[in-house]
Protein backbone atom coordinates (compact mmCIF):
# COMPACT_ATOMS: atom_id res chain seq x y z
CA UNK A 1 0.00 0.00 0.00
CA UNK A 2 2.56 2.59 1.03
CA UNK A 3 4.65 3.23 -2.02
CA UNK A 4 6.73 5.97 -0.45
CA UNK A 5 10.29 4.88 -0.06
CA UNK A 6 11.12 3.54 3.36
CA UNK A 7 14.77 3.77 4.35
CA UNK A 8 14.24 0.97 6.79
CA UNK A 9 16.15 -1.62 8.68
CA UNK A 10 16.31 -4.10 5.83
CA UNK A 11 19.34 -2.92 3.91
CA UNK A 12 22.96 -3.13 4.91
CA UNK A 13 23.94 -2.23 1.41
CA UNK A 14 26.59 0.29 0.56
CA UNK A 15 24.02 2.53 -1.07
CA UNK A 16 22.01 2.72 2.13
CA UNK A 17 25.05 3.43 4.24
CA UNK A 18 26.04 6.22 1.94
CA UNK A 19 22.57 7.72 1.99
CA UNK A 20 22.53 7.52 5.75
CA UNK A 21 25.88 9.25 5.97
CA UNK A 22 24.79 12.03 3.62
CA UNK A 23 21.61 12.60 5.58
CA UNK A 24 23.39 12.72 8.90
CA UNK A 25 25.86 15.17 7.42
CA UNK A 26 23.01 17.35 6.21
CA UNK A 27 21.36 17.34 9.64
CA UNK A 28 24.54 18.08 11.52
CA UNK A 29 25.51 20.81 9.11
CA UNK A 30 22.11 22.49 9.35
CA UNK A 31 22.03 22.34 13.14
CA UNK A 32 25.59 23.61 13.43
CA UNK A 33 24.86 26.41 10.99
CA UNK A 34 22.02 27.55 13.19
CA UNK A 35 24.28 27.76 16.24
CA UNK A 36 26.89 29.75 14.34
CA UNK A 37 24.25 32.10 12.95
CA UNK A 38 23.14 32.74 16.51
CA UNK A 39 26.71 33.44 17.52
CA UNK A 40 27.34 35.69 14.56
CA UNK A 41 24.28 37.79 15.31
CA UNK A 42 24.75 37.78 19.05
CA UNK A 43 28.51 37.68 19.58
CA UNK A 44 28.41 38.75 23.22
CA UNK A 45 29.16 35.25 24.53
CA UNK A 46 32.22 35.08 22.32
CA UNK A 47 33.46 38.45 23.48
CA UNK A 48 32.74 37.83 27.14
CA UNK A 49 34.46 34.47 26.90
CA UNK A 50 37.61 36.25 25.77
CA UNK A 51 37.40 39.34 27.98
CA UNK A 52 37.14 37.52 31.27
CA UNK A 53 40.29 35.39 30.91
CA UNK A 54 42.09 38.33 29.36
CA UNK A 55 41.47 40.37 32.48
CA UNK A 56 42.74 37.48 34.60
CA UNK A 57 45.85 37.23 32.50
CA UNK A 58 46.68 40.92 32.67
CA UNK A 59 45.78 41.50 36.32
CA UNK A 60 47.30 38.35 37.76
CA UNK A 61 50.37 38.68 35.59
CA UNK A 62 50.86 42.22 36.85
CA UNK A 63 50.21 41.24 40.44
CA UNK A 64 53.23 38.98 40.55
CA UNK A 65 55.44 40.89 38.15
CA UNK A 66 58.02 41.81 40.77
CA UNK A 67 58.00 38.49 42.56
CA UNK A 68 61.47 37.10 43.36
CA UNK A 69 62.85 35.43 40.26
CA UNK A 70 63.46 32.10 42.00
CA UNK A 71 59.89 31.95 43.33
CA UNK A 72 58.64 29.35 40.88
CA UNK A 73 60.18 25.94 40.26
CA UNK A 74 62.57 26.26 37.33
CA UNK A 75 62.67 30.02 37.88
CA UNK A 76 60.26 30.90 35.07
CA UNK A 77 58.49 34.26 35.10
CA UNK A 78 55.04 34.20 36.60
CA UNK A 79 53.26 35.44 33.49
CA UNK A 80 54.56 32.49 31.51
CA UNK A 81 53.46 30.14 34.27
CA UNK A 82 50.04 31.76 34.42
CA UNK A 83 49.50 31.67 30.62
CA UNK A 84 48.93 27.92 30.46
CA UNK A 85 46.44 28.10 33.34
CA UNK A 86 44.44 30.88 31.77
CA UNK A 87 44.36 29.18 28.37
CA UNK A 88 42.86 26.08 29.91
CA UNK A 89 40.47 28.16 31.98
CA UNK A 90 39.28 29.90 28.82
CA UNK A 91 38.52 26.64 27.04
CA UNK A 92 36.95 25.21 30.15
CA UNK A 93 34.55 28.05 30.84
CA UNK A 94 33.69 28.29 27.15
CA UNK A 95 32.79 24.62 27.01
CA UNK A 96 30.79 24.81 30.23
CA UNK A 97 28.30 26.94 28.31
CA UNK A 98 27.64 24.15 25.80
CA UNK A 99 24.40 23.19 27.47
CA UNK A 100 22.85 26.65 27.33
CA UNK A 101 21.55 26.59 23.73
CA UNK A 102 20.11 23.13 24.32
CA UNK A 103 18.50 24.26 27.54
CA UNK A 104 16.88 27.22 25.82
CA UNK A 105 15.61 24.93 23.07
CA UNK A 106 14.08 22.67 25.68
CA UNK A 107 12.48 25.54 27.51
CA UNK A 108 11.08 27.34 24.49
CA UNK A 109 9.92 24.18 22.77
CA UNK A 110 12.23 24.50 19.78
CA UNK A 111 13.57 21.06 20.60
CA UNK A 112 10.12 19.66 19.77
CA UNK A 113 10.60 20.96 16.26
CA UNK A 114 13.74 18.89 15.97
CA UNK A 115 12.12 15.85 17.52
CA UNK A 116 9.16 15.68 15.14
CA UNK A 117 11.59 15.77 12.21
CA UNK A 118 12.74 12.41 10.84
CA UNK A 119 16.35 12.85 11.97
CA UNK A 120 18.55 9.97 10.92
CA UNK A 121 20.19 10.12 14.27
CA UNK A 122 19.21 12.06 17.32
CA UNK A 123 22.93 12.27 18.07
CA UNK A 124 23.09 14.90 15.35
CA UNK A 125 21.79 17.37 17.92
CA UNK A 126 24.66 16.49 20.25
CA UNK A 127 27.28 16.42 17.52
CA UNK A 128 26.26 19.89 16.33
CA UNK A 129 26.66 21.23 19.87
CA UNK A 130 30.06 19.63 20.22
CA UNK A 131 31.32 21.02 16.92
CA UNK A 132 30.02 24.46 17.76
CA UNK A 133 31.36 24.70 21.27
CA UNK A 134 34.70 23.11 20.43
CA UNK A 135 35.29 25.62 17.65
CA UNK A 136 34.20 28.48 19.84
CA UNK A 137 36.31 27.64 22.86
CA UNK A 138 39.41 26.74 20.86
CA UNK A 139 39.05 30.07 19.08
CA UNK A 140 38.81 31.88 22.40
CA UNK A 141 41.84 30.01 23.73
CA UNK A 142 43.92 30.95 20.73
CA UNK A 143 43.02 34.59 21.15
CA UNK A 144 44.26 34.33 24.74
CA UNK A 145 47.45 32.65 23.49
CA UNK A 146 47.95 35.62 21.20
CA UNK A 147 47.38 37.98 24.09
CA UNK A 148 49.88 36.07 26.26
CA UNK A 149 52.41 36.28 23.47
CA UNK A 150 52.01 40.04 23.12
CA UNK A 151 52.47 40.37 26.88
CA UNK A 152 55.83 38.70 26.41
CA UNK A 153 54.90 35.32 27.87
CA UNK A 154 56.06 33.40 24.81
CA UNK A 155 54.45 31.04 22.32
CA UNK A 156 54.93 27.30 21.86
CA UNK A 157 56.62 25.89 18.75
CA UNK A 158 54.72 23.90 16.12
CA UNK A 159 54.59 20.65 18.08
CA UNK A 160 53.76 22.62 21.16
CA UNK A 161 50.78 24.17 19.43
CA UNK A 162 49.68 20.72 18.33
CA UNK A 163 49.93 19.48 21.90
CA UNK A 164 47.95 22.51 23.14
CA UNK A 165 45.27 21.83 20.57
CA UNK A 166 44.94 18.14 21.38
CA UNK A 167 44.86 18.74 25.11
CA UNK A 168 42.26 21.46 24.82
CA UNK A 169 40.09 19.36 22.52
CA UNK A 170 40.01 16.44 24.92
CA UNK A 171 39.13 18.77 27.77
CA UNK A 172 36.49 20.62 25.76
CA UNK A 173 34.80 17.40 24.66
CA UNK A 174 34.57 16.21 28.23
CA UNK A 175 33.24 19.48 29.61
CA UNK A 176 30.76 19.74 26.73
CA UNK A 177 29.43 16.29 27.58
CA UNK A 178 29.09 17.33 31.20
CA UNK A 179 27.28 20.53 30.31
CA UNK A 180 24.93 18.84 27.86
CA UNK A 181 24.15 16.26 30.51
CA UNK A 182 23.33 19.03 32.96
CA UNK A 183 21.19 20.76 30.35
CA UNK A 184 18.96 17.71 30.20
CA UNK A 185 18.86 17.04 33.94
CA UNK A 186 18.36 20.50 35.40
CA UNK A 187 14.89 22.03 35.29
CA UNK A 188 15.76 25.35 33.63
CA UNK A 189 18.39 27.76 32.43
CA UNK A 190 18.51 29.60 35.75
CA UNK A 191 19.70 26.46 37.46
CA UNK A 192 22.17 25.70 34.68
CA UNK A 193 23.66 29.18 34.84
CA UNK A 194 23.90 28.87 38.60
CA UNK A 195 25.85 25.63 38.31
CA UNK A 196 28.15 27.12 35.69
CA UNK A 197 28.71 30.18 37.84
CA UNK A 198 29.43 28.21 40.97
CA UNK A 199 31.66 25.64 39.27
CA UNK A 200 33.87 28.10 37.47
CA UNK A 201 36.04 29.85 40.03
CA UNK A 202 36.59 27.10 42.60
CA UNK A 203 37.79 24.81 39.85
CA UNK A 204 40.21 27.50 38.73
CA UNK A 205 41.59 28.14 42.20
CA UNK A 206 41.79 24.48 43.13
CA UNK A 207 44.04 23.74 40.18
CA UNK A 208 47.59 24.53 39.23
CA UNK A 209 46.44 27.39 37.00
CA UNK A 210 47.60 30.16 39.34
CA UNK A 211 50.23 28.54 41.59
CA UNK A 212 52.08 25.20 41.68
CA UNK A 213 51.05 22.46 44.08
CA UNK A 214 54.14 23.11 46.20
CA UNK A 215 52.63 26.44 47.26
CA UNK A 216 49.44 24.88 48.56
CA UNK A 217 48.48 23.44 51.95
CA UNK A 218 48.13 19.63 51.73
CA UNK A 219 44.32 19.56 51.45
CA UNK A 220 44.31 22.00 48.57
CA UNK A 221 47.25 20.20 47.00
CA UNK A 222 45.17 17.04 47.01
CA UNK A 223 42.27 18.82 45.38
CA UNK A 224 44.47 20.39 42.75
CA UNK A 225 46.11 17.07 42.00
CA UNK A 226 42.70 15.51 41.43
CA UNK A 227 41.25 18.42 39.49
CA UNK A 228 40.86 17.55 35.80
CA UNK A 229 41.91 21.08 34.86
CA UNK A 230 45.36 20.36 36.28
CA UNK A 231 45.79 17.45 33.88
CA UNK A 232 45.15 19.82 31.00
CA UNK A 233 47.22 22.70 32.36
CA UNK A 234 50.47 20.82 32.91
CA UNK A 235 50.93 19.44 29.36
CA UNK A 236 50.24 22.91 27.99
CA UNK A 237 52.72 24.41 30.43
CA UNK A 238 55.21 21.86 29.15
CA UNK A 239 54.45 22.93 25.60
CA UNK A 240 55.19 26.53 26.59
CA UNK A 241 58.43 25.62 28.36
CA UNK A 242 59.77 24.19 25.11
CA UNK A 243 60.86 20.88 26.64
CA UNK A 244 58.30 18.73 24.94
CA UNK A 245 58.97 15.46 26.71
CA UNK A 246 55.62 13.94 27.57
CA UNK A 247 57.36 11.04 29.26
CA UNK A 248 58.71 13.29 31.97
CA UNK A 249 56.93 13.85 35.26
CA UNK A 250 54.67 16.91 35.10
CA UNK A 251 52.73 16.66 38.34
CA UNK A 252 54.23 15.86 41.73
CA UNK A 253 50.99 14.87 43.33
CA UNK A 254 50.61 13.74 46.95
CA UNK A 255 49.56 10.33 45.63
CA UNK A 256 52.46 9.95 43.24
CA UNK A 257 53.93 11.34 40.07
CA UNK A 258 52.10 11.86 36.82
CA UNK A 259 53.82 12.10 33.45
CA UNK A 260 52.60 14.06 30.44
CA UNK A 261 51.22 10.90 28.89
CA UNK A 262 49.55 10.13 32.18
CA UNK A 263 47.83 13.52 32.11
CA UNK A 264 46.48 13.01 28.61
CA UNK A 265 45.40 9.47 29.39
CA UNK A 266 43.48 10.52 32.48
CA UNK A 267 41.80 13.34 30.57
CA UNK A 268 40.82 10.97 27.79
CA UNK A 269 39.38 8.44 30.20
CA UNK A 270 37.40 11.14 31.98
CA UNK A 271 36.00 12.46 28.73
CA UNK A 272 35.08 9.03 27.42
CA UNK A 273 33.52 8.24 30.78
CA UNK A 274 31.38 11.37 30.65
CA UNK A 275 30.12 10.58 27.17
CA UNK A 276 29.23 7.06 28.25
CA UNK A 277 27.56 8.41 31.37
CA UNK A 278 25.28 10.85 29.54
CA UNK A 279 24.35 8.44 26.76
CA UNK A 280 21.38 6.80 28.45
CA UNK A 281 20.17 10.23 29.52
CA UNK A 282 20.32 11.58 25.98
CA UNK A 283 18.65 8.47 24.64
CA UNK A 284 15.81 8.93 27.05
CA UNK A 285 15.37 12.64 26.44
CA UNK A 286 15.77 12.53 22.70
CA UNK A 287 13.35 9.78 21.75
Amino acid sequence: MSKTFSPSSSGFSLENNKLEFLEIRQEVFALTRRLFLQLYRRPSTLVAGILQPLIWLVLFGALFENAPSNLLPGGIVYGKFLGAGIIVFTAFSGALNAGLPVMFDREFGFLNRLLVAPLRSRSSIVIASVIYIATLSILQSFVIMGAAFSLGYGFPNFYGVLLVLITLLILVFGVTALSLGLAFVLPGHIELIAVIFVANLPLLFASTALVPISFMPPWLGWLAALNPLTFAIEPIRAAYSGSLDLGSVLIHAPYGEVTGYGCLLILTILTAGLFIAIRPLLNRKLT
Binding site: S2, E27, P118
Partner: protein
Protein backbone atom coordinates in the same frame (compact mmCIF):
# COMPACT_ATOMS: atom_id res chain seq x y z
CA UNK B 1 -8.12 2.21 4.43
CA UNK B 2 -8.12 5.38 6.53
CA UNK B 3 -4.89 7.38 6.51
CA UNK B 4 -4.75 7.53 10.29
CA UNK B 5 -6.14 5.13 12.83
CA UNK B 6 -5.92 5.93 16.53
CA UNK B 7 -7.03 3.03 18.66
CA UNK B 8 -7.88 3.08 22.35
CA UNK B 9 -5.33 5.69 23.28
CA UNK B 10 -4.77 6.12 26.99
CA UNK B 11 -2.46 8.74 28.43
CA UNK B 12 -2.02 10.05 31.94
CA UNK B 13 0.17 12.80 33.28
CA UNK B 14 0.69 11.58 36.81
CA UNK B 15 -2.74 11.56 38.41
CA UNK B 16 -4.35 13.48 35.53
CA UNK B 17 -5.96 11.32 32.91
CA UNK B 18 -5.63 13.23 29.64
CA UNK B 19 -6.90 10.51 27.28
CA UNK B 20 -9.13 7.64 28.24
CA UNK B 21 -9.68 5.23 25.41
CA UNK B 22 -9.71 7.66 22.56
CA UNK B 23 -10.26 6.18 19.10
CA UNK B 24 -10.39 8.00 15.79
CA UNK B 25 -10.15 7.29 12.09
CA UNK B 26 -9.11 9.91 9.61
CA UNK B 27 -10.00 9.15 6.01
CA UNK B 28 -7.57 9.89 3.22
CA UNK B 29 -8.17 13.33 1.73
CA UNK B 30 -10.49 14.54 4.45
CA UNK B 31 -10.42 17.76 6.38
CA UNK B 32 -10.81 16.44 9.87
CA UNK B 33 -11.81 18.76 12.70
CA UNK B 34 -11.13 17.82 16.29
CA UNK B 35 -13.39 19.95 18.45
CA UNK B 36 -13.13 20.06 22.21
CA UNK B 37 -12.95 22.52 25.08
CA UNK B 38 -9.79 23.49 26.90
CA UNK B 39 -8.02 20.56 28.44
CA UNK B 40 -10.09 17.93 26.66
CA UNK B 41 -6.95 16.25 25.29
CA UNK B 42 -6.63 17.67 21.77
CA UNK B 43 -2.94 18.54 22.01
CA UNK B 44 -2.15 15.29 23.74
CA UNK B 45 -3.80 13.35 20.91
CA UNK B 46 -1.94 15.25 18.22
CA UNK B 47 1.39 14.96 20.04
CA UNK B 48 0.97 11.22 20.22
CA UNK B 49 0.16 11.06 16.53
CA UNK B 50 3.25 13.11 15.70
CA UNK B 51 5.44 10.77 17.79
CA UNK B 52 6.34 13.46 20.31
CA UNK B 53 4.65 11.57 23.08
CA UNK B 54 4.15 7.90 23.79
CA UNK B 55 0.72 6.77 24.91
CA UNK B 56 0.41 4.58 27.99
CA UNK B 57 -1.45 2.14 25.79
CA UNK B 58 -3.19 2.07 22.44
CA UNK B 59 -2.19 2.00 18.80
CA UNK B 60 -1.31 4.58 16.19
CA UNK B 61 -1.36 3.59 12.53
CA UNK B 62 -0.47 5.95 9.72
CA UNK B 63 -0.95 4.56 6.26
CA UNK B 64 -1.13 1.13 7.85
CA UNK B 65 2.25 1.54 9.47
CA UNK B 66 2.73 1.35 13.22
CA UNK B 67 3.85 4.80 14.37
CA UNK B 68 5.02 3.65 17.77
CA UNK B 69 7.31 0.99 16.36
CA UNK B 70 8.55 2.96 13.40
CA UNK B 71 8.38 6.62 14.36
CA UNK B 72 10.98 7.85 11.87
CA UNK B 73 8.97 6.75 8.85
CA UNK B 74 5.89 8.42 10.20
CA UNK B 75 7.66 11.68 10.91
CA UNK B 76 8.53 12.25 7.29
CA UNK B 77 4.88 11.81 6.32
CA UNK B 78 3.48 14.30 8.78
CA UNK B 79 3.73 18.07 8.88
CA UNK B 80 3.05 19.18 12.42
CA UNK B 81 2.24 22.73 13.44
CA UNK B 82 2.23 22.86 17.21
CA UNK B 83 -0.02 24.98 19.36
CA UNK B 84 2.74 27.02 20.95
CA UNK B 85 4.84 28.48 18.19
CA UNK B 86 8.50 28.16 19.08
CA UNK B 87 10.67 29.94 16.57
CA UNK B 88 14.28 30.94 16.82
CA UNK B 89 13.91 34.70 17.03
CA UNK B 90 17.38 35.40 15.82
CA UNK B 91 16.98 33.47 12.57
CA UNK B 92 15.14 34.87 9.59
CA UNK B 93 12.06 33.08 8.34
CA UNK B 94 13.99 31.84 5.35
CA UNK B 95 16.72 30.37 7.53
CA UNK B 96 14.14 28.55 9.60
CA UNK B 97 12.61 27.07 6.47
CA UNK B 98 16.06 26.01 5.26
CA UNK B 99 16.73 24.34 8.59
CA UNK B 100 13.46 22.46 8.29
CA UNK B 101 14.24 21.42 4.75
CA UNK B 102 17.55 20.00 5.89
CA UNK B 103 16.08 18.17 8.85
CA UNK B 104 13.71 16.47 6.40
CA UNK B 105 16.62 15.75 4.07
CA UNK B 106 15.36 17.67 1.06
CA UNK B 107 17.85 18.10 -1.75
CA UNK B 108 19.15 21.62 -1.91
CA UNK B 109 17.61 22.69 -5.23
CA UNK B 110 14.30 21.18 -4.25
CA UNK B 111 14.45 22.85 -0.87
CA UNK B 112 14.98 26.28 -2.40
CA UNK B 113 12.19 25.64 -4.90
CA UNK B 114 9.82 24.72 -2.09
CA UNK B 115 10.77 27.81 -0.13
CA UNK B 116 10.13 29.97 -3.15
CA UNK B 117 6.71 28.43 -3.70
CA UNK B 118 5.72 28.73 -0.07
CA UNK B 119 6.81 32.35 0.12
CA UNK B 120 4.57 33.02 -2.83
CA UNK B 121 1.56 31.02 -1.64
CA UNK B 122 1.65 32.37 1.88
CA UNK B 123 2.56 35.90 0.80
CA UNK B 124 5.64 36.08 2.97
CA UNK B 125 7.86 37.89 0.52
CA UNK B 126 7.95 41.23 2.33
CA UNK B 127 9.26 39.94 5.59
CA UNK B 128 10.74 36.47 5.12
CA UNK B 129 14.31 37.80 5.26
CA UNK B 130 13.71 39.72 8.46
CA UNK B 131 14.56 38.16 11.80
CA UNK B 132 11.54 36.27 13.00
CA UNK B 133 11.68 37.98 16.41
CA UNK B 134 10.04 40.98 14.78
CA UNK B 135 7.09 39.07 13.29
CA UNK B 136 3.48 39.61 14.28
CA UNK B 137 1.34 36.74 15.50
CA UNK B 138 -0.18 36.27 12.05
CA UNK B 139 3.22 36.21 10.34
CA UNK B 140 4.54 33.66 12.79
CA UNK B 141 1.56 31.43 12.25
CA UNK B 142 2.04 31.61 8.50
CA UNK B 143 5.72 30.84 8.81
CA UNK B 144 4.89 27.93 11.03
CA UNK B 145 2.41 26.64 8.53
CA UNK B 146 5.13 26.91 5.90
CA UNK B 147 7.51 24.82 8.02
CA UNK B 148 4.82 22.19 8.33
CA UNK B 149 4.36 22.13 4.56
CA UNK B 150 8.06 22.23 3.57
CA UNK B 151 8.44 18.53 2.94
CA UNK B 152 5.03 18.06 1.31
CA UNK B 153 3.67 15.70 3.95
CA UNK B 154 0.78 13.33 3.32
CA UNK B 155 -0.90 14.63 6.42
CA UNK B 156 -0.92 18.15 7.83
CA UNK B 157 -1.57 18.30 11.56
CA UNK B 158 -2.52 21.67 13.01
CA UNK B 159 -3.04 22.30 16.70
CA UNK B 160 -5.35 25.29 17.10
CA UNK B 161 -3.78 27.20 14.20
CA UNK B 162 -5.83 30.37 14.54
CA UNK B 163 -6.13 30.81 18.28
CA UNK B 164 -5.43 34.40 19.24
CA UNK B 165 -5.31 35.66 15.66
CA UNK B 166 -7.15 38.68 14.30
CA UNK B 167 -10.04 38.04 11.95
CA UNK B 168 -8.10 38.91 8.83
CA UNK B 169 -5.19 36.55 9.54
CA UNK B 170 -7.64 33.85 10.44
CA UNK B 171 -9.46 34.26 7.14
CA UNK B 172 -6.17 34.06 5.24
CA UNK B 173 -5.25 30.82 6.96
CA UNK B 174 -8.71 29.39 6.51
CA UNK B 175 -8.76 29.96 2.79
CA UNK B 176 -5.28 28.56 2.44
CA UNK B 177 -6.19 25.40 4.30
CA UNK B 178 -9.32 24.96 2.21
CA UNK B 179 -7.27 25.24 -0.93
CA UNK B 180 -4.73 22.72 0.30
CA UNK B 181 -7.46 20.28 1.12
CA UNK B 182 -9.05 20.78 -2.28
CA UNK B 183 -5.68 19.92 -3.76
CA UNK B 184 -5.93 16.55 -2.04
CA UNK B 185 -4.02 17.04 1.20
CA UNK B 186 -5.41 15.37 4.29
CA UNK B 187 -5.68 17.84 7.14
CA UNK B 188 -6.25 17.23 10.81
CA UNK B 189 -7.04 20.36 12.76
CA UNK B 190 -7.87 20.82 16.41
CA UNK B 191 -9.87 23.74 17.64
CA UNK B 192 -12.11 24.92 20.36
CA UNK B 193 -13.89 27.30 17.99
CA UNK B 194 -17.15 25.83 16.78
CA UNK B 195 -17.24 28.08 13.76
CA UNK B 196 -13.79 27.00 12.70
CA UNK B 197 -14.61 23.32 12.66
CA UNK B 198 -18.03 23.96 11.18
CA UNK B 199 -16.60 26.10 8.42
CA UNK B 200 -13.61 23.99 7.47
CA UNK B 201 -14.04 20.35 8.19
CA UNK B 202 -15.89 17.66 6.29
CA UNK B 203 -15.32 15.11 9.03
CA UNK B 204 -15.18 15.83 12.70
CA UNK B 205 -15.08 14.45 16.17
CA UNK B 206 -16.00 16.13 19.40
CA UNK B 207 -13.82 15.14 22.30
CA UNK B 208 -14.45 15.72 25.93
CA UNK B 209 -12.40 14.59 28.93
CA UNK B 210 -10.11 12.52 26.75
CA UNK B 211 -12.69 10.56 24.79
CA UNK B 212 -14.66 10.94 21.60
CA UNK B 213 -18.28 11.77 22.34
CA UNK B 214 -19.52 12.29 18.80
CA UNK B 215 -18.15 11.66 15.34
CA UNK B 216 -19.31 12.25 11.77
CA UNK B 217 -19.78 15.10 9.34
CA UNK B 218 -20.81 18.38 10.95
CA UNK B 219 -24.19 18.18 9.26
CA UNK B 220 -24.77 14.62 10.36
CA UNK B 221 -24.00 15.47 13.93
CA UNK B 222 -26.41 18.35 13.94
CA UNK B 223 -29.10 16.34 12.16
CA UNK B 224 -28.63 13.36 14.44
CA UNK B 225 -29.59 15.53 17.34
CA UNK B 226 -33.02 15.25 15.74
CA UNK B 227 -34.24 18.41 17.31
CA UNK B 228 -34.32 22.14 16.90
CA UNK B 229 -33.19 24.86 19.21
CA UNK B 230 -35.80 27.33 20.47
CA UNK B 231 -35.34 30.70 22.08
CA UNK B 232 -38.35 32.00 23.96
CA UNK B 233 -38.99 35.38 25.53
CA UNK B 234 -42.03 36.14 27.63
CA UNK B 235 -41.16 39.83 27.60
CA UNK B 236 -38.33 41.90 26.22
CA UNK B 237 -36.45 42.19 29.50
CA UNK B 238 -37.48 39.56 31.94
CA UNK B 239 -35.95 38.79 35.33
CA UNK B 240 -34.54 35.76 37.02
CA UNK B 241 -37.62 34.91 39.07
CA UNK B 242 -39.88 35.04 36.08
CA UNK B 243 -37.40 33.08 33.96
CA UNK B 244 -37.24 30.28 36.53
CA UNK B 245 -41.00 30.25 36.83
CA UNK B 246 -41.46 29.78 33.11
CA UNK B 247 -38.73 27.15 33.10
CA UNK B 248 -40.53 25.07 35.72
CA UNK B 249 -43.69 25.39 33.76
CA UNK B 250 -42.46 24.29 30.35
CA UNK B 251 -40.08 21.63 31.66
CA UNK B 252 -43.09 19.43 32.21
CA UNK B 253 -44.10 19.44 28.57
CA UNK B 254 -43.38 16.42 26.41
CA UNK B 255 -40.94 16.60 23.51
CA UNK B 256 -39.01 19.46 25.03
CA UNK B 257 -35.74 19.22 26.91
CA UNK B 258 -32.58 20.85 28.23
CA UNK B 259 -34.28 24.04 29.32
CA UNK B 260 -31.81 26.72 30.31
CA UNK B 261 -32.45 30.25 31.52
CA UNK B 262 -30.10 32.41 29.50
CA UNK B 263 -29.09 35.29 31.67
CA UNK B 264 -27.05 36.96 28.94
CA UNK B 265 -30.13 37.23 26.71
CA UNK B 266 -32.36 39.03 29.18
CA UNK B 267 -33.40 35.81 30.96
CA UNK B 268 -34.83 34.29 27.84
CA UNK B 269 -35.29 30.54 27.73
CA UNK B 270 -33.29 28.15 25.58
CA UNK B 271 -34.35 24.60 24.93
CA UNK B 272 -34.66 21.91 22.32
CA UNK B 273 -37.83 20.57 20.73
CA UNK B 274 -38.06 17.26 18.94
CA UNK B 275 -40.67 18.51 16.46
CA UNK B 276 -42.20 21.84 15.63
CA UNK B 277 -45.58 20.50 16.74
CA UNK B 278 -44.58 21.16 20.30
CA UNK B 279 -44.66 24.91 19.84
CA UNK B 280 -48.46 25.44 19.57
CA UNK B 281 -48.95 23.33 22.68
CA UNK B 282 -46.36 25.39 24.45
CA UNK B 283 -48.06 28.57 23.39
CA UNK B 284 -51.46 27.56 24.73
CA UNK B 285 -49.95 26.28 27.97
CA UNK B 286 -48.24 29.58 28.59
CA UNK B 287 -51.34 31.58 27.78
CA UNK B 288 -53.32 29.49 30.22
CA UNK B 289 -50.88 30.41 32.97
CA UNK B 290 -51.11 34.08 32.12
CA UNK B 291 -47.84 34.56 30.22
CA UNK B 292 -47.56 36.43 26.97
CA UNK B 293 -45.06 35.38 24.37
CA UNK B 294 -42.95 38.33 23.40
CA UNK B 295 -40.81 36.42 20.90
CA UNK B 296 -40.14 32.87 19.95
CA UNK B 297 -37.69 31.62 17.39
CA UNK B 298 -36.72 28.20 16.21
CA UNK B 299 -33.37 27.42 14.60
CA UNK B 300 -31.27 24.52 13.40
CA UNK B 301 -29.01 23.17 16.11
CA UNK B 302 -25.33 24.17 16.20
CA UNK B 303 -22.32 22.11 17.12
CA UNK B 304 -22.50 23.68 20.54
CA UNK B 305 -25.89 22.03 20.92
CA UNK B 306 -24.33 18.72 19.97
CA UNK B 307 -21.82 19.20 22.74
CA UNK B 308 -24.48 20.38 25.16
CA UNK B 309 -26.59 17.35 24.38
CA UNK B 310 -23.84 14.84 25.16
CA UNK B 311 -22.28 16.53 28.16
CA UNK B 312 -25.03 18.64 29.68
CA UNK B 313 -22.97 21.82 29.49
CA UNK B 314 -22.05 24.30 26.78
CA UNK B 315 -18.55 24.50 25.36
CA UNK B 316 -18.15 27.92 26.93
CA UNK B 317 -19.04 26.64 30.38
CA UNK B 318 -16.66 23.71 29.95
CA UNK B 319 -13.88 26.14 29.07
CA UNK B 320 -14.53 28.33 32.08
CA UNK B 321 -14.64 25.32 34.33
CA UNK B 322 -11.13 24.15 33.47
CA UNK B 323 -9.65 27.58 32.91
CA UNK B 324 -9.07 28.15 36.62
CA UNK B 325 -7.94 24.64 37.36
CA UNK B 326 -5.03 24.31 34.96
CA UNK B 327 -1.53 25.45 35.74
CA UNK B 328 -0.19 26.04 32.25
CA UNK B 329 3.28 27.03 33.42
CA UNK B 330 3.60 23.80 35.31
CA UNK B 331 2.37 21.79 32.34
CA UNK B 332 4.90 23.48 30.09
CA UNK B 333 7.63 22.61 32.59
CA UNK B 334 6.49 19.03 32.80
CA UNK B 335 6.29 18.49 29.09
CA UNK B 336 9.86 19.75 28.64
CA UNK B 337 12.14 17.07 27.30
Amino acid sequence: MPLVVLQNLVKSYGPIKALSNLSLEIPQGSFFGLLGPNGSGKSTTLRILCTLLEPDSGEVLVNGENALKNPRNIRSKIGYVAQEVAIDKILTGRELLQLHGDLYHLRKEYREQRIKNLIENLEMNDWIDRRSGSYSGGMRRRLDLATGLMHEPDLLVLDEPTVGLDIESRATIWSLLKELNKGGKTILLSSHYLEEVDELSDQMAIIDAGRVIAQGTPDELKKNLGCNRVTLKVREFSNEIEGEKVKELIKKLDGLHNVVVNRAQGYSLNFFVDTSDTLPILRSQLNEQGFEIFAISESRPTLDDVYLQSTGKTLMDAELEVANKRDLKKEAKQSMR
